[in-house]
């Protein structure tokens, strides 16, 4: 199969189309990159393999990148892996620098995507087998490491942050117990609805989207005219305008975050949200001005976006070298291969060099298209912030409801979930439970548990396995402890320098 016989001009058109639709899916709360792939998967069966893959790869890259748009503008992460983007992009947008925040995110995304692509191209077979050395023990420690972000971002009281995070973990465990299918923490009349627990996206939409609307509504929906003025001034105000100078002094942060995303993408069972949270945590720990993270800092946006796009190439590594999908989106991609009769696995690259090269070209092209498409049109998206709240909020509310309903192909309970967690989020703000740390606990809780259980099963219940299985464990423990200590120190410094700052989690 000749490369350009497989990768036809139509394939390039399909990448562009895929990126476009992917961005739309990513930018609507509740519609994810995974859903975009799943919905379009049947459409690819009538296409040539190259064209089908081109479309799916475009959707993948677009879907992951599009998640930053609602994260920055509405404080609703479009995908779970853009949760950390909300921490700084939203406050920056609130200051009137929405376009700048998005453009920083777009540039970071393309850098992360390309770095991970280079790693994929040159090291896929080697890294694929290295990933096998990461057993559930190491994966548990990595997720624990990602959870250390709670120490970094806890506001006012770290104890309250830890409590909120633990509560999130606790709520994530509602539903069927994975090893023996026993239900737990589910009243019998809710068995049908909570069999698999609360779906992540409705919880996320409720906590971030609906609770924010409630909070704003409580304060009144008068339009803040200063934002409109500031956004318009972006053409003349150098501070509001994006330039590559925003990346001055951010080389290490960008590269480190891209690699964190790539490496965590390589490890199946760890996930994109862990990657972006860990990158954010490390950006804060190594920052010269950690107190600025969470208040509209470019460092935070770069960390989150470079890592979640770094994930795209990383997650392809185990897929193409072992036949093991790195995340839920690449799992759908694997389905496309299987249905086309192609076995993705240890012999894939050697047996299908043209297909392999075609995929790399498609990924590179998709990243470039994503960059051009988003960079040139983002100013129109940024104008969302100019829409008066009394017009915007009902639209967001409808998007939240439709998105929640669509997640599992029309389950009404998911809409109730979003509404319940919207109200809960509002109550949490009032009583001092930190929404962000709660959500982080919720996102990482199930993976934390399943890797812990697998470690226990494999070791016969010996807790020392977390210290003795391999030298990697010691490195991970050192990182965990270091991250917690840095987090505590920066938290204390913040509390001392700005005792009155950040009264609740809504002001992340």
């Amino acid at each position: 199969m000749e490369l350009f016989e497989m990768f036809t001009p139509m394939a390039f058109v399909l990448v562009v189309f895929g990126v476009f639709v992917g961005i739309i899916f990513g930018s609507i709360p509740g519609l994810t990159a995974t859903m975009a792939l799943a919905v379009f998967l049947p459409l690819t069966f009538g296409m040539d393999l190259g064209e089908g893959l081109a479309l799916l790869i475009g959707l993948y890259v677009g879907g992951i990148s599009g998640g930053m748009i609602p994260a920055a503008l509405l404080k609703i992460p479009g995908t779970p892996s853009s949760v950390a983007t909300t921490f700084d992009a939203y406050p920056m947008a609130q200051k009137g620098f929405a376009e700048k925040a998005l453009k920083i995110g777009i540039v970071a995304s393309v850098i992360g995507g390309i770095i991970s692509l280079v790693v994929l191209y040159f090291f896929a077979p080697v890294l694929g087998t290295v990933a096998i050395n990461f057993t559930p023990v190491e994966k548990f420690l990595i997720i624990l490491f990602a959870l250390t972000i709670i120490a970094s971002i806890s506001e006012k009281s770290m104890l309250s942050g830890i409590f909120s995070g633990m509560l999130g973990v606790f709520v994530s465990l509602i539903g069927v117990f994975p090893t023996n299918n026993e239900l737990r923490m589910v009243p019998s009349f809710l068995e049908d609805y909570l069999w698999d627990g609360f779906s992540l996206l409705p919880v996320l939409i409720g906590l971030f989207g609906i609770s924010e609307i409630l909070r704003n509504s409580e304060q009144g929906l008068k339009t803040d005219k200063s934002k409109k003025v500031t956004l318009k001034k972006a053409k003349t105000d150098p501070e509001a305008r994006f330039s590559l100078k925003a990346f001055n002094g951010q080389t290490v942060n960008t590269i480190r975050s891209s690699f964190i995303g790539t490496i965590l993408g390589i490890l199946p069972g760890v996930g994109g949200s862990a990657a972006s949270l860990m990158s954010y945590s490390q950006a804060k720990n190594f920052s010269k001005q950690p107190q600025k993270l969470g208040e509209g800092s470019r460092e935070g946006i770069i960390a989150s976006e470079a890592s979640n796009n770094g994930l795209t190439g990383g997650a392809m590594v185990p897929l193409l070298s072992l036949g093991i999908p790195g995340d839920s989106t690449t799992a759908v991609l694997l389905g496309a291969f299987v249905l086309q009769g192609i076995q993705v696995g240890p012999l894939f690259i050697g047996d299908n060099p043209d297909l392999w090269n075609g995929m790399i070209i498609a990924l590179l092209f998709a990243n470039i298209v994503m960059f051009l498409m988003m960079f040139t049109s983002i100013r129109y998206f940024a104008r969302i912030i100019e829409i008066p709240k009394h017009v915007l909020f009902p639209i967001i509310l409808v998007m939240c409801v439709v998105g929640s309903f669509a997640i599992n192909n029309g389950v009404m309970f998911d809409v109730w979930t979003a509404l319940i967690f919207g109200v809960l989020g509002f109550v949490f703000m009032k009583i001092g439970i930190q929404i962000t740390t709660f959500l982080i606990g919720f996102i990482l809780g199930r993976d934390l548990e399943s890797n812990f259980l697998d470690s226990m099963q494999a070791s016969g219940g010996d807790l020392f396995v977390f210290f003795t299985r391999s030298p990697i464990d010691w490195v991970l423990w050192a990182l965990i402890i270091g991250s917690v200590v840095f987090g505590i120190m920066s938290n204390r410094k913040n509390s001392r320098s700005a005792p009155d700052a950040a009264t609740d989690s809504a002001a992340v």
Binding site: V13, F17, F45, N181, W195, G323, L339, F405
Partner: protein, 346 residues
């Protein structure tokens, strides 16, 4: 080219509509009273054999029925719930395999989702390649040798990667009972399980040394058994549970190895079939059965299945209930004799 462009323009609208809407519209096309059939799957994976068989089913049977069928991989519990609430017009049906009733017997799904609450539709295909595998350098080459090795090495255990309530648990149960009968309880008690879910997780558990034997399939695992695969991920087949060997593969069946339960050879052909609401309209179920009978005769259906070593396997509507109930009864005797999952896991 024009058609593709038109498809590209309309696809996002269609996609959003499909994502947002779940119920079928009523219409009068295609000889049945619906113009779209949502086929919910008992598995949420788009890579496992259920999705692959469902895809062949929706494509080919949908064509014969002249109705747009869409496979929706939502997982067992959600699929049963959807079926429970489905209208009798056939706008929502379920596609799954033997796990649909085994999971209820094992207690991993509520009793209200038992086979007796549905109309069993036609059986359509089978995966004859459900297999046990191990690392390429394991000191045994088939299931009997594995049992012998366990008997000879009294300080060792054999750990199987198994999904609770799944077909992997059933096949392990049969092996366990045979080991207990043949070599005694002391040997059988050293058979352990490592609870895990997808095929990918099972492979990973094998490669990282957490289990000794996994339950996979010829279609999914063949690639890891080839000569030029790196040692770290290389696997070998120990046995398949199907009643017949798969052409082109030198893998013995359980029956050939003499693995028996209560004096009867243990065979398990993993079959895919349709479940419909209990009160399904006769016009729909008959039309569906006719469409399956027509599709099954076409090369397209068989060819698509054979890409992953699956086969067509038609049991018509008027025989399918009895057929599946007989099979359930036979398999339940294995489950009744087997130890509890939690005991195997400890």
């Amino acid at each position: 080219m024009k058609k593709k462009l038109a498809a590209l323009i309309t696809a996002p609208i269609l996609a959003l509509t499909m994502a947002g809407c779940s119920s079928g519209d009523n219409g009068d096309e295609g000889g049945v009273d619906v113009n779209r059939v949502r086929v919910v799957l008992g598995s949420s994976s788009t890579t496992a054999d259920t999705y692959q068989n469902a895809h062949a089913f929706t494509e080919n049977v949908g064509k014969s029925l002249d109705v747009n069928m869409k496979a929706d991989a939502i997982g067992a519990n959600k699929a049963f719930q959807a079926l429970n609430k489905a209208k009798p017009d056939g706008s929502t049906i379920m596609f799954f395999h033997d796990m649909s009733y085994l999971s209820v017997k094992y207690g991993s799904q509520p009793k209200k989702f038992g086979l007796d609450n549905w109309t069993v539709g036609p059986v359509v295909s089978l995966n004859p390649g459900a297999a046990f595998l191990t690392k390429h350098d394991a000191p045994y080459n088939d299931m009997v040798e594995a049992a012998e090795w366990l008997k000879d090495n009294k300080s060792e255990t054999l750990t199987f990667a198994v999904e609770a309530g799944g077909t992997s648990e059933l096949s392990l149960d049969a092996f366990y009972i045979w080991v207990a009968d043949t070599y005694g309880d002391d040997v059988a008690k050293r058979i352990k399980v490592f609870a895990t879910g997808s095929d990918e997780e099972k492979n990973q558990a094998l490669w990282s040394g957490n289990v000794d034997i996994i339950y996979g399939s010829i279609g999914g695992n063949e690639q890891y058994t080839k000569d030029d695969v790196e040692d770290k991920v290389k696997e070998k087949f120990l046995a398949i549970t199907a009643s017949e060997r798969v052409e082109g593969f030198d893998i013995p069946t359980f029956e050939e190895q003499g693995i028996e339960v209560d004096g009867e050879p243990f065979t398990f052909d993993k079959e895919f079939f349709v479940l419909m609401p209990e009160d399904i309209e006769d016009s729909f179920s008959t039309a569906l059965d006719d469409a399956v009978a027509e599709a099954i005769e076409t090369d397209d259906y068989a060819d698509e299945l054979s890409k992953n070593n699956f086969k067509t396997d038609y049991v018509p509507l008027d025989e399918s209930t009895q057929y599946i109930e007989d099979k359930r009864e036979r398999l339940e005797t294995v489950i009744d004799r087997a130890p509890e999952f939690n005991d195997l896991a400890s």
